[in-house]
């Protein structure tokens, strides 16, 4: 029972959205890397109530990740340098997919590779799993083959990765963009042109922290990615720029802690949102955000969430 506790089903606003063919019962997804494979939050969180679950990033082979320390708290945010530790696609299919298959909620597999080939291969390997409703392609990682430059920092590379994934994937492809670029619209247009069915943004902002007492970096890898409420204003700006640059659906991510934050992104034009760091602070954040959005729609007389998408009143 997803909607228990609602008195008047007649006036209940409709929350369902369609992101490039993936049907979500509401626009709130758990962001990659912040919700494990769902099981970590079960049974505390009713997984059937979520719009979608994005898995932790999956690579072809298992990855060790970076040595600790991997996280540091900053002012209203945190930096992580997990280094994309994951079990690899094979163990994912064997160990994680059965659990996820029990729920009605669409699962979107977040994938990344060290080479363009890796991306294509991953798409192929995930094609046959009914539970995987779509792919989210993380292009915010270094391209090992071309010297560590990020795939997501260069429109040409981004285009190539997406074209390759699209060639193999039987599922809708969401491309997740890095915010650490001069002009997000160039990347957004490049991946749209390459056939992306949707884009999601933002991934974390590159950041750093130092302990003045020990004069050491607070992360073993020196750099990491900043997430959490501190980055929301930057994320919202990038989402708005992307929304105005492409026609495919945009999914807003970055610092969303409550339904007001989520509404900012939706009003700016995001068709759906992802909740990341908030899951750590408040494991039931996604559920509260879903309920909060629904209450807002009801109080403001909206019949359907889509009426709100992109409804920003500019001067």
């Amino acid at each position: 029972m997803t909607y228990e506790g609602q008195k008047n089903p007649v006036h209940r606003p409709r929350m369902s959205v369609d992101i490039a063919g993936i049907k979500l019962k509401n626009p709130v997804m758990a962001a990659s890397g912040t919700f494990g494979y769902g099981e970590e939050f079960f049974p505390m969180v009713d997984l059937n109530h979520l719009g979608a679950i994005i898995t932790k990033g999956i690579s072809l082979k298992p990855m060790e990740g970076n040595p600790p320390p991997r996280i540091v708290e900053t002012v209203s945010g945190m930096i992580n340098s997990i280094g994309l530790q994951n079990v690899g696609v094979q163990a994912f299919i064997r160990d994680k997919v059965p659990f996820l298959s029990q729920f009605k909620t669409p699962v979107i597999a977040n994938i990344f590779g060290e080479t363009v080939r890796d991306y294509g291969e991953l798409a192929k390997r995930l094609n046959d799993l009914p539970v995987i409703a779509g792919l989210e392609v993380n292009i915010s990682c270094p391209n090992v083959a071309s010297g560590g430059m990020l795939f997501g920092a260069d429109p040409k590379m981004a285009h190539l990765v997406v074209r390759t994934v699209k060639r193999f994937a039987h599922r809708p492809v969401i491309v997740k963009l890095s915010p650490n670029v001069t002009d997000i619209t160039l990347i957004a247009k490049a991946v749209e042109e390459a056939g992306a069915n949707a884009i999601s943004l933002i991934n974390t902002l590159r950041a750093m922290a130092i302990d003045p007492q020990s004069r050491r970096p607070l992360l073993s890898s020196i750099f990491g990615g900043l997430s959490g409420p501190a980055i929301k204003p930057v994320a919202l700006r990038l989402v708005w720029e992307a929304v105005n640059a492409v026609k495919i659906p945009v999914i807003g991510i970055g610092g969303i802690m409550n339904s007001d934050d989520a509404l900012e992104f939706i009003i700016a034009g995001a068709r759906a949102v992802q909740v990341g760091t908030a899951n750590f602070v408040n494991p039931t954040a996604c559920i509260e955000i879903i309920d909060g959005i629904e209450a807002y729609l009801r109080e403001n007389g909206f019949q359907h969430i889509n009426e709100l998408v992109g409804s920003l009143r500019t001067p």
Binding site: E40, P68, P69, R70, I71, E73, M78, F280, T284
Partner: protein, 293 residues
């Protein structure tokens, strides 16, 4: 390892609940003890498990803070349970906690982590605490008493103000030995030296159980190894989720299987990096790769 929703529920938690602060008093300079009443029976807590406490409903300080569940008493009172935390005031979060007053609603997530393994040989057990490390060992001494082990508890600290819970441990039937670096109480010197001299002069204990600063744990691990005594240590690390989801809290462990073998990965998460919040916080001292810590 597929598991059905109902199987999951049987695991008994973790629970996300609001409790009510019943007591929050300074037990020694900069050490506080907090008692929180929760509306539910707080699950089957094992000694060595911990909670994540939400420090603020505001975005700063952002992350929850982990604290050991200090005691197992009063966990099954009528209408719920009373949870105890013993904490040292060290920074932003713990300073805020120290200011909380009776009646405050507190959001807690737990129980978390593996807890100490109690599949141990019957006999005398050494519990070794450095400073606030007593917080995580008292519950263990309670269980050991109920299981009929004899506990020797070693507590070390800089000064006598850092020696906590002596009465509590004695109340749980343990024999308590104290060392302070300045000699203000008990033996003068490091607690690890005291443990070593006990090991030389007394019958070998069945196990060592240590909680405290990392240097102390390293020394205890070496002692345990050289004397071939099984040893469990309680480790700390920076945590974001406490649930095993963020992979932020890992420590390096000795990979027993080559990382990329099918068998290794079927264990689930990383083999050479293990999560303190999930595979830990209690580790076999032999498993830990101490160079990386």
């Amino acid at each position: 390892m597929s598991c059905s929703p109902s199987e999951g529920k049987e695991r008994g938690g973790p629970y996300l609940v609001y409790g009510t602060l019943r007591k929050n008093s300074e037990v020694a300079p900069s050490y506080h003890k907090m008692r929180i009443r929760t509306p539910i029976p707080y699950g089957d807590i094992g000694p060595g498990q911990f909670l994540m406490v939400r420090i603020s409903e505001e975005p700063f300080p952002l992350l929850r803070r982990p604290f050991s569940i200090h005691s197992l008493r009063n966990l099954r009172i009528k209408d719920g349970s009373d949870i105890e935390i013993l904490y040292k005031v060290v920074g932003k979060g713990t300073n805020l906690m120290a200011s909380w007053r009776r009646g405050k609603r507190i959001n807690i997530l737990g129980p978390l982590g593996n807890g100490f393994s109690l599949s141990i040989k019957m006999g005398t057990q050494f519990l070794i605490a450095g400073g606030i490390g007593v917080a995580g060992l008292f519950a263990l001494s309670q269980v050991m008493k109920s299981q009929g082990h004899k506990c020797l508890v070693f507590i070390g600290g800089k000064t006598k103000e850092d020696i906590l819970c002596v009465d509590e441990f004695q109340g749980a039937g343990a024999e308590v030995h104290v060392a302070t670096e300045d000699g203000g109480m008990g033996f003068r010197g490091m607690i690890t030296d005291m443990v070593e001299s006990f090991l030389q002069n007394r019958p070998k204990p069945s196990g060592l159980f240590a909680c405290g600063p990392v240097d102390m744990l390293k020394t205890i691990a070496e002692i345990a190894k050289s004397q071939s005594i099984p040893c469990q240590v309680s480790l700390e690390s920076m945590m974001a989720c406490g649930l095993g989801a963020c992979l932020g809290c890992v420590i390096r462990t000795k990979a027993k299987l080559p990382l990329r073998s099918a068998k290794a990965t079927s264990q689930g998460w990383g083999v050479s990096f293990n999560r303190v919040c999930k595979e830990g916080p209690i580790f076999d001292s032999e498993e830990v790769d101490w160079r990386g810590i």
